[in-house]
């Protein structure tokens, strides 16, 4: 390996690492606020990327059907709950957001010539379709089990993952796709030549991390999420409902996932099931941070990206094995540091 190749691999590693960092942040966020180990995080990457692909091709993306169905199911679930509690006060809003919004979006997608519009607008519509799926999934799969042990929530996560991958195959088909880069060309930084898209990925990831930081530090909603993460019951007593915190954090997870998909779609071919491995590598990073620390998770993600890039050069067949084996020393280190038996929540 010469210096140029080493630099190239480093660039690759950092680019992918940036995406893994976003995954890891979302996973830590979901776990801290809801105790859900959000295995399906990666699916939003594939959904985001493939929805954008469909929009650019001038086709109606299959995810809009998922949004319509999920919305309808939420309405059914809320109607059942309202019937039980005889409280229909909020039902109008439920109808509007879960049925009205998807239908309006569907109508817009039918009439607007999105395929010819600028990319920024296509991205906006992609997010408008994919991101609401996050809170809807929380409402349908997790909310009825909000008080269940972590283990049960984890099994639900795996079930949700399986369902989303199956649905992904159903609506997108088995073929992989790429999107054109945000901007063409390369940029020279001294000895390093970086593709513009890599810089987009790194730049957008950093920007997103800053925005998230500001959200958590400066806004009342961000502080509400942090409060819930520290003490769920306490937060509830202070007027932050668990359901609200859960839906908001899943909204953020879906947003982060879909954006990540849009960012890397020009770099790698995305298939309906690509997201899973991307999400899992985010997991390796999140575990490095003990599923608790955002900065360590982000640093771990860059490490995962670099390890993956260099092992793809030295032993490409064993790339995945090497990356996932990284958790062994991490677990060993964590294991040696724990002394006391604690009850699982």
């Amino acid at each position: 390996m010469n210096f140029d190749i080493a630099l190239l691999l480093a660039q690759d590693g950092i680019t992918n690492g940036a995406i893994y960092a976003l995954m890891a942040l979302a996973l830590v966020l979901a776990f801290a606020v809801t105790r859900v180990i959000f295995i399906p995080q990666g699916e939003f990457v594939a959904y985001g990327a493939l929805t954008l692909v469909a929009l650019q091709a001038g086709k109606l993306p299959g995810t809009i059907w998922l949004l319509l169905v999920a919305g309808a199911l939420v309405v059914v679930a809320e109607a059942a709950a309202a019937l039980r509690t005889k409280n229909w006060r909020r039902f109008g809003r439920v109808l509007l957001t879960n049925l009205g919004y998807p239908l309006a979006l569907w109508a817009l997608l039918r009439v607007l010539p999105l395929g010819e519009w600028p990319m920024a607008l296509q991205v906006l519509f992609t997010l408008a379709i994919v991101v609401p799926l996050g809170p809807m999934i929380y409402r349908l799969a997790y909310e009825p089990l909000a008080e269940a042990p972590v283990l049960i929530l984890l099994i639900v996560s795996v079930a949700v993952h399986v369902v989303l991958v199956g649905l992904g195959l159903l609506v997108f088909g088995a073929e992989g796709s790429r999107t054109p880069p945000f901007t063409e060309g390369t940029i020279s930084l001294g000895a390093l030549t970086a593709s513009a898209q890599s810089l987009w990925v790194i730049g957008c990831s950093l920007a997103l991390i800053v925005v998230l930081y500001l959200f958590f530090e400066r806004t009342i909603y961000g502080k509400a999420l942090r409060a819930t993460a520290v003490n769920r019951r306490g937060a509830k007593l202070m007027g932050i409902p668990t359901e609200f915190a859960g839906r908001l954090s899943f909204f953020l997870c879906a947003l982060i996932g879909a954006l990540s998909g849009i960012l890397i779609a020009p770099i790698t071919t995305i298939y309906y099931d690509t997201g899973f491995l991307i999400g899992l590598k985010g997991f390796v990073a999140a575990i490095i941070g003990g599923l608790a620390s955002y900065p360590i998770a982000a640093a771990g993600a860059v490490l995962v990206g670099l390890l993956e890039a260099y092992s793809s050069f030295w032993a490409s067949a064993y790339k995945e094995v090497i990356v996932f084996t990284l958790i062994i020393p991490v677990l060993l280190w964590r294991s040696l540091r724990t002394h006391h038996v604690e009850e699982d929540e």
Binding site: L151, I152, I155, V162, E342, D344
Partner: protein, 617 residues
């Protein structure tokens, strides 16, 4: 139970149906029954791990693969080094080799994750599942994605199992052996420890159970069952490739266990049957409905999983038992043998010997100092009360003494040994037992089983003898002595009428008494009681006081935290008073009651007229 068919009949009918299978069933159903048996064996391991032990694994398919590939490599490859080649002579030797490899991998994976929170094991198994299936797919030695072919059939006593009908018998013998040993194990000393893992880890450790080891036992056994299933699979199919050992299959195994009913050994069989049969059907039907090829049945299974977890979290088996009232339910009742020699008891130290000596004990939680420079001592044959207003740090003090929490500073000596920083398990082994302020017991288990956990370390045979003895019923003599001891303690505290009731069904006061029986079942010399009289009625309190006096006269040392001053003052020899984490007074009850600092702590200053009457409550 009225109207229920005795379980022995039902099992006999089930076995007869199984035995007739090969003569009656068409080939298609034989194949299906073989797969159900193979899958149920893996799901059974998950019942032990997930439903009983409260842990889970998505990597069981990888262990199946380990069993399958080990036998495939050893029995088909011709260029093995001599030190390996001899194992390939018989599939049975290869099975043992597979067990050895699985044991090694599972023990490694377990030792990395089992001390951590419960969710690290499943995450670790996901990574392990993915890594191994990538390895299967890329390794040239293992034939890459095409796999290995030409695996010989198994021979038993000169009989070659080369057809589906022939191996059917072996598969179901393996499964029934698995069910039998699992049920036996769960009904033994180590089985109770495994059953306590789900939500009772702190309690179990305080009773001397090594919860990491119990977790490891459950995980390794589950892995070994998966490995056996893989071995059978390889010799049934006569070839192996990586596909059936992927993470997806690992997830499906978990679905089987959860859908069938992860808390019940028969749930594994039910889940495997439901998933296998409906999968065959869905794979025909779904592609026609959606108009394209693909594994769409996973969508159905995933949705089914979510619905089941939300609506019937214990799976289909309990639902089935509820629907069909004639299905047998295992009775919790059993005969307690009375004519067995009692368990050995350690010699109690002579009255007046100092058992516990604490000085300078300090515990900080972040900025909060819960216990500050505390000292106290307890001698054999006396009852000491630790009292103080709410939040004074009494329960924290108990947790420090019993090793549930680590002290920030201070010296802890128990039976003349320094126990600072020792685990609660080690301290329990030395003869300290306790109850908890917030009752910690296994609500689903009977009172008898709960108390028997307390006797976990009595005449302890060691982990492996305990597991094998339990699984193969070699422990019955010891087990009956252990249960007799538990029953004796239950009678002693006056809960004999509730012996076979689920512990969670008792009122809170009796649950506290149950905890005392559990503590007494251990071979103890120092007993810590955290608010034992809370929730008791007057007569029950008097009975408790009598019991404690009797224990004292036997030479036991007792320390209790209690708010009921009438109860305390008439009973104890000495009182230590805590406030704001510090000792403010110590002495005989009548002296302490007059101590102005104590009065101030309780009444908030003598001159405050509206003071709460806490001590007189």
């Amino acid at each position: 139970m009225k109207g229920r068919v005795p379980s022995s009949w039902l099992i006999a009918a089930f076995l007869a149906a199984l035995a007739l299978g090969p003569w009656l069933l068409p080939e298609f159903w034989i194949t299906l029954a073989n797969y159900i048996g193979l899958y149920a064996l893996v799901a059974l391991g998950l019942v032990l791990l997930t439903g009983v032990g409260g842990l889970t694994s998505f990597g069981q398919a990888a262990f199946v693969g380990l069993g399958a590939y080990t036998t495939a490599v050893l029995t088909t490859l011709t260029d093995l080094p001599p030190w390996l080649a001899w194992i390939g002579a018989s599939p049975w030797l290869a099975l043992l080799a597979g067990f050895a490899v699985t044991l090694l991998v599972a023990a490694t994976l377990g030792s990395l994750t089992l001390r951590l929170s419960g969710h690290y094991l499943p995450l670790g198994t996901i990574a392990w599942g993915i890594s191994l299936s990538f390895l299967f797919g890329t390794s040239q030695l293992l034939g890459g994605h095409t796999g290995l072919t030409g695996i010989a059939p198994i021979r038993v006593f000169g009989w070659t199992l080369d057809s589906g009908r022939a191996i059917y018998v072996l598969i179901w013998i393996f499964l029934l052996a698995g069910v039998f040993t699992t049920r036996n194990l769960l009904d033994s000393r180590e089985g109770r420890a495994i059953r306590a893992l789900k939500g009772g880890m702190v309690m179990a450790e305080s009773m001397g159970v090594n919860t990491s080891a119990s977790r490891m036992v459950a995980f390794v056994l589950a892995a070994l069952m998966a490995c056996a299933s893989g071995w059978l699979y390889a010799h049934m199919q006569r070839f192996v490739n990586p596909t059936p050992f992927s993470l997806h299959m690992g997830i499906e195994y978990l679905f089987m266990a959860v859908i069938g009913g992860a808390g019940h050994v028969w749930g594994a069989l039910l889940g495997a049957a439901v998933i296998t049969i409906s999968k065959t059907w869905l794979q025909d039907v779904l592609p026609q409905i959606v108009g394209q090829a693909g594994n769409f049945e996973v969508i159905v299974f995933g949705v089914l999983m979510i619905v089941i977890l939300q609506r019937a979290p214990d799976g289909l088996w309990p639902v089935l038992v509820r629907w069909f009232h004639w299905l047998p339910v295992r009775s919790a009742r059993r005969v307690i043998p009375s004519e067995v020699p009692p368990l050995a008891r350690r010699a109690l130290p002579g009255a007046g010997t100092t058992l516990l000596e604490v000085s300078g004990a300090t515990k900080r939680f972040g900025g909060l100092v819960a216990v500050n420079d505390m000292q106290l001592a307890v001698r054999a044959g006396e009852i000491v009360a630790l009292i103080g207003p709410n939040g004074a740090g009494k329960s924290t003090m108990f947790n420090l003494i019993s090793g549930v929490l680590d002290a920030t500073a201070g010296s802890f000596r128990f039976r003349a040994q320094d126990v600072g920083g020792h685990s609660s398990r080690d301290i329990a082994k030395m003869g300290l037992s306790r109850t908890f302020q917030h009752v910690r017991l296994m609500p689903q288990m009977t009172v008898l089983d709960n108390v028997a956990i307390g006797a976990h370390r009595r005449e302890y045979p060691g982990l492996l003898p305990g597991v094998f003895g339990g699984a193969w019923r070699l422990d019955r003599r010891q087990e009956s002595r252990l249960l007799a001891e538990a029953a004796r303690q239950i009678e002693r505290v006056g809960l004999a009428d509730h012996m076979f009731d689920a512990a969670g069904s008792l009122p809170l006061g009796k649950q506290r008494i149950l905890e005392i029986a559990r503590a007494l079942a251990s071979d103890l010399c120092l007993l810590l009681l955290d608010e034992p009289a809370a929730g008791l009625r007057y007569l029950e309190k008097r009975a408790l006081a009598d019991l404690l006096r009797k224990l004292r006269s036997e030479g036991l040392a007792i320390m209790l935290v209690e708010h009921d001053m009438d109860f305390v003052m008439g009973l104890v020899d000495r009182v230590t008073v805590m406030d704001f984490g510090q000792r403010i007074a110590e002495g005989r009850p009548e002296d302490v009651q007059r101590d102005p600092r104590v009065l101030e702590a309780y009444l908030g200053g003598v001159d405050e007229a509206d003071a709460a009457a806490e001590p007189a409550r």
